[in-house]
Symmetry: C2
Subunit: 221 residues, 2 copies
DNA sequence: CTCACTTTGTGCCCGCGTTCACAAGCGTCT
DNA sequence: AGACGCTTGTGAACGCGGGCACAAAGTGAG
């Protein structure tokens, strides 16, 4: 559940501010969800709060970290040392939360051997060997779209079963592999959609442009 | 709807391969959803397919682009010229889909005036002026977490009502502002969660660690 | 023209996730 | 100690989105 990670993030912030206890109401307000939903989510970890008081912040943080598997650090392999790949290699949001970018891979010989933000760039063919050596458990695909599926296959073949994909293609994988998709362009398109919708509403009033076109087509027939 | 963007992406790929028509079954398989869901999604744009044949690819592409507001190019302002910000400025997935990174902003004087991937870096204080000049309609927040809310407020004050936020904080905005959140660390944590879950399952068998702890607590009482 | 086949569009049903509401439990104040 | 107030945990109702299945509509063959 992605919300558990959000709760953890907010709890960590509260802990830094010296809070020792928090109620579901407070925490829910902080992350912008209903308090009942939050309690039900947390009940997934068993009873961690005390009635009449709330949740013990450090205790809940520990419990969430355990549940999310953050009690041990994870090594991630990053494939694609282009713009995005290099930036992700240096993104401190990863290291700050216990994810170490252990290796970078690329196909372009010109990039191989260089060091980006302290991380060695390997050829993608050495992926199985390097990943095994470094105990990599998570793979990140940051290649152009055409290479993504092949790279993913190589990651899976190397025994990696968790993949974060930035390439704008749907990866097909075996059942046991967990893929999470982040499509940056699609996110912008959704925002663009809202812009268009609002523009149409102000011009056409009430009836958004979609309905007008449908009505028009109907009249023609 | 984010799926509309995915459909468009796949349709564009089909069009490049010379396909002129596509059935809901084919397209649904390509994007990995049910065909009924896809048809229902597309019915949102009015009747665009012809029964017995399928959907006309170029026509549907045009219709989707119109709905998503991609008929005109959008200028985006990118705040935060750190690792992530610079990478996003050069990400060709944006420009390829009609989103132009028109301006970069940062607070650090050392970065101001430099040019990243052909884009000028401005001081964040000049945000309102520059955004107005360049007709910016979308703002991207790629700053560290502590600055994100303030930056977002400045974007909103500059009249921008669509924000893509990469900072790991929940932005609070007026009602009319559309915010989309991308938390890269949270994505990795979800993957880590699945790893932990699977590890617990193989050790404890059947009963995942969560249930065992709950059962244990119950037994203690 | 008619018939058989294909594919869309959609009404209906089901299951999941969210919300509501409340009993149970814990701390505190008197 | 007892009563009161606060907060959790959860059963029950609700709503929404997804899947199924079929009528409507179009195409092509005979």
């Amino acid at each position: 559940m992605v919300r558990l990670a959000i709760y953890l993030r907010e709890l960590a912030a509260l802990a830094e501010n010296g809070a020792t206890t928090v109620s579901s109401e407070e925490l829910a307000a902080a992350v912008g969800v209903g308090s009942a939903k939050l309690r039900k989510d947390l009940s997934f970890l068993g009873s961690q709060g005390t009635r009449g008081v709330g949740y013990d912040v450090p205790r809940l943080v520990t419990r969430l970290e355990l549940t999310l598997g953050l009690d041990r650090a994870h090594s991630v392999a990053l494939v694609g040392a282009g713009n995005l790949g290099r930036a992700l290699a240096g993104y401190d949001g990863f290291s700050r939360r216990g994810f170490r970018v252990a290796a970078l891979f690329d196909r372009d010989p010109a990039r191989i051997g260089s060091v980006v933000r302290g991380v060695q760039v390997h050829h993608v063919d050495s992926l199985p060997v390097v990943c095994a050596q470094l105990r990599v458990s998570i793979g990140v695909v940051a290649t152009p779209a055409p290479s993504a599926q092949q790279v993913c296959d190589q990651l899976v073949a190397a025994g990696i079963s968790c993949v974060l994909n930035f390439a704008p293609v749907m990866l097909v994988t075996p059942e046991h592999v967990e893929v999470r998709q982040v499509d940056l362009a699609a996110e912008l398109q959704v925002l663009s959609f809202h812009l268009a919708r609002r523009a149409a509403a102000t011009i056409g009033d009430g009836a958004p442009e979609l309905d007008r076109s449908r009505a028009g087509a109907g009249a023609i027939r």
